[in-house]
């Protein structure tokens, strides 16, 4: 234990929390948007994966980071359109469609990777680009905070910015209002001439774009290549974070950070020689505990209100 504390309170640990959180944050923001419009996006995992691949391929062929990221985003949007078409137009069950999308991506990416890089596992033979890390002028000179907050990948900052932007978008813009209305009471939206399906399409597209950014971060920031199934369940964890954060951008941000913290913790805990399985469990147990504690609190609040009044 005495080894652990200095590690947790080190700046590099705090720094790593942000780094680990980034892809989950993107995906959980993506989950918020689609959820608010009343469409569950189980396909986030697959969308991220595909976007990660397309980012690598396009940046390798154009030698442009920007085009790479844009392609990743475009891939996210395109796949979510497919999801939307099947679930909204053809009325396939949305969960099933999401699962199918994941299945599709998991195979499709490897196949494409093989076409592009003659490799079925990893894209190292492609000279793909990486989104650079930047240090932020003023912040980087603050002693401790600077080390934690500065020097991250640009996409990490984008993800933090997105928390704020999504909040504004959902609660202050017309489209955001419509998305919330559609998700909560589609009939009401319909009755004032809002096309429910169109709004859900748009929500899914935005959701896809965010997941695309998450994918781009995985392969063009976190690491510098694409590898088979590299998202490794982060899309599902994002769904958990979104539920834990009760669908609000800020709450979800917190939940994602908690998960990131637990994950980072499990990475440093291993040196303590606790059985590896227990350490690997930490992030998931934390999420369950977080969810339970949140739910208990919510419950107690209700009870307390009553008791105080009686």
């Amino acid at each position: 234990m005495e080894n652990l504390l200095p590690i947790i309170f080190s700046t590099s640990f705090a720094y790593s929390v942000l780094r680990v959180t980034t892809p989950i944050l993107f995906a959980s923001l993506a989950a918020i948007i689609s959820d608010k419009a009343g469409v569950i996006n189980i396909g986030l995992e697959g969308i991220m994966l595909f976007a990660a691949l397309m980012g690598v391929i396009s940046s390798a062929f154009t030698q442009s980071v920007l085009i790479g990221v844009l392609c990743a985003v475009a891939t996210g949007v395109l796949l979510s359109l497919v999801l939307a078409y099947f679930s909204l137009n053809l009325k396939s069950d949305i969960i099933l469609t999401g699962i199918a999308l994941n299945l599709f991506s998991s195979g499709g990416t490897v196949f494409l990777l093989f076409l592009a890089a003659q490799d079925k596992g990893i894209s190292v033979s492609l000279q793909s680009k990486v989104v650079p890390e930047i240090s932020i002028p003023l912040i980087n000179s603050i002693p401790v905070l600077g080390e934690i907050l500065s020097g991250h990948n640009i996409l990490t900052y984008v993800s933090l910015l997105c928390v704020f932007l999504i909040h504004l978008f959902l609660y202050k813009t017309p489209l955001g209002l419509r998305i919330r209305a559609v998700g909560e009471t589609p009939n009401a939206a319909d009755s004032v001439g809002i096309s429910v399906r169109r709004i859900q399409y748009m929500a899914l597209m935005i959701s896809g774009a965010l997941a695309g950014l998450g994918g781009a971060y995985m392969s063009m920031g976190y690491v510098s290549w694409f590898s088979r199934d590299m998202t490794a369940g982060r899309g599902f964890i994002a769904l958990a974070a979104e539920a834990m954060g009760r669908g609000t951008p800020l709450g979800t941000f917190l939940a994602a950070i908690i998960f990131g913290f637990a994950d980072a913790l499990s990475n440093v805990m291993q040196s303590l020689r606790v059985p590896a399985e227990f350490v690997q469990m930490i992030p998931y147990v934390t999420t369950i505990l977080g969810l339970v504690i949140y739910s208990i609190k919510q419950n107690n609040k209700i009870k307390k209100y009553r008791r105080n009044q009686v």
Binding site: L177, R180, T185, A188, S191, G193, R306
Partner: protein, 517 residues
């Protein structure tokens, strides 16, 4: 009276499940009139209006507005053509404010963001113009129904509705609110709007409508000037036979107390005092009515009595048993039956069959299952009997309840609750939104059960109903019983209204005398 503003010609609508909801209907409305649309449950009124508003598309027929044929394929087109609709079930987003609901879809913008100030201003402006006062910044979920109704009307007006469709707007309103609504409708009419008004309440039709179109079985069976027809004639046209809504009952012969509520308090999640030391009782063989504006604690009171929620203070005794720690099942086993006001939430599982809906309170009984195995044949014959007894219009017991019309769904609920050999029936808005034929039937059944010695607690916002049906009458206001009348026939509607709005309150002695005899 103006010229024909709307004509729906030879409209036929078949739902995907094959139900022919409208067949060759012709429907014509003149400018500036209030036109009533009447018919039994399932006659096709809502369907006809949904087509006018673009929520459904007709298989055949044409719609003319001001003589011009138009194709209405979505609410947007309808709104563009000056049609507004206030739906039978509210179309509001509960978590949003009034102003946000008002501008939904036509949001005022500033730099790409919603201009919330402007939204509030717009709401205030139109609310002043039509004298429908609302608080723009209140959240919908906190509003009483009357207020929601106003918001719905304003919403339609804001979108420039010339023709306003109101689908059963009064079903959930108090007399005062209804009166207010009617005044508002008259103002609208004076301002040149045309109103299509759907209601099951003949009195209301007589009061404000100019003409009436009657539907039966999906077809139009005639258009009349309201002043030319009597209520009885309308009923006959709708149902195809004479309806007697006059309640014929002998004086009650009450016996033992079956329900006793004593000093019960209840506080909601937000910490608001919903019930305030409320006390009363119900005896075998009597109908006790509770009148009151909705939202004065009636719903919560019933939730406590039926075990849907738990009370902290006071006591509720059913058949000599305190129910504080009992489960709903145990309470039901004491002999309580409950017709919920919200039939789609509590009354039925809409995707389940009629059979499944009817056995929900008794599937656990020995005669319907054998060590856990359901006795299918027994259940089928039981349900068949009930369908016959309660005249539920359906193909068979396996039909999902969702396929039935509102009135028939209510009959399913009533059939279940009345046939469980109850000692006490809690009937909350038992006739809401159902047609006269069905109402008549439910009244008869209620009185019959009373005469067999069942205690009935009747809660209704329909004053006529509580006054006619009850033997004793209580009035609830602000979570308290503010008045109690030994003989409900001796009260006037006006007097009741005063108590319901909290203007008058009986002194405690007077109340106790009645309560603790």
């Amino acid at each position: 009276m103006g010229n024909e503003i709307l004509l729906m010609k030879n409209i036929t609508k078949v739902y995907p499940n094959g139900i022919v909801a409208n067949k060759d209907v012709n429907f014509s409305v003149n400018e500036g009139e209030i036109h009533a649309l009447m018919g039994e449950n399932g006659a096709g009124k809502s369907t006809l209006m949904k087509m006018l508003f673009g929520l459904e598309t007709p298989e055949e027929g044409e719609i003319f507005i001001n003589g011009k044929a138009i194709k209405i394929d979505s609410p947007t087109t309808a709104i563009k053509n000056g049609i507004g609709m206030v739906h039978q079930h509210f179309m509001l987003v509960p978590s949003l404010t009034i102003a946000e609901n008002m501008v939904l879809g036509i949001e005022p913008r500033k730099n790409g963001f919603i201009d919330f100030k402007k939204a509030v201003a717009i709401t205030e402006e139109i609310s002043k113009k039509y004298n429908l006062i609302v608080d723009p910044e209140a959240k919908i979920e906190d509003l009483p129904v009357g207020m929601k109704q106003k918001v719905e009307i304003l919403k339609a007006l804001l979108r420039g509705a010339e023709i306003l469709i109101l689908d059963e707007p009064t079903a959930v309103l108090t007399p005062q609110e209804t009166k207010e609504l009617f005044e508002e409708l008259v103002t609208l009419k004076e301002k040149g709007h045309t109103i299509i008004f759907i209601s099951h309440k003949l009195k209301e039709i007589k009061e404000i409508c100019d003409r009436i179109t009657i539907l039966r079985g999906g077809r139009s069976v005639g258009v009349h000037h309201v002043k030319d027809v009597t209520q009885e004639e309308i009923s006959r046209l709708m149902v195809g036979r004479d309806v007697v809504l006059k309640i014929d009952k002998t004086p009650a012969k009450p016996k033992e107390i079956v329900l006793k509520v004593k000093e019960v308090n209840h506080i909601d999640v937000m910490g608001k005092n919903i019930l305030n030391k409320i006390s009363f009782f119900v005896r075998e063989g009597e109908i006790v009515g509770i009148a009151g504006v909705e939202g004065n604690g009636q719903r919560e009171l019933i939730e406590l009595i039926t075990g849907l929620d738990q009370y902290d203070e006071g006591s509720i005794v059913i058949c000599d048993k305190e129910i504080r720690d009992l489960t709903i099942k145990q309470i039901r086993d004491l002999g309580i039956s409950h017709i919920s006001e919200d039939r789609m939430t509590y009354g039925v599982a809409e995707f389940a069959s009629i059979e499944e809906n009817i056995i929900s309170d008794r599937f656990d009984n020995k005669d319907l299952n054998n060590k856990g195995l359901l006795k299918i044949r027994k259940i089928q014959s039981l349900v068949k009997q009930l369908i016959d007894d309660y005249k539920v219009k359906c193909d068979n017991g396996q039909q999902p309840v969702k396929m039935l019309s509102g009135g028939n769904i209510q009959k399913v609920v009533v059939a279940r609750e009345f046939s469980s050999s109850p000692k006490i029936i809690i009937a909350n808005q038992p006739t809401r939104g159902i047609d006269v034929g069905a109402i008549e039937f439910i009244y008869e059944k209620l009185i019959q059960l009373r005469d067999e010695g069942v205690g009935v607690l009747l809660i209704s916002s329909d004053l006529n109903e509580v006054m006619e049906l009850s033997d004793r009458l209580l009035v609830m206001y602000g979570g308290e019983v503010v008045a109690s009348f030994e003989d409900s026939t001796k009260v006037t509607e006006e007097e009741l209204g005063m108590y319901m709005l909290g203007i008058k309150k009986q002194v405690f002695e007077e109340k106790r005398r009645v309560e603790n005899e």
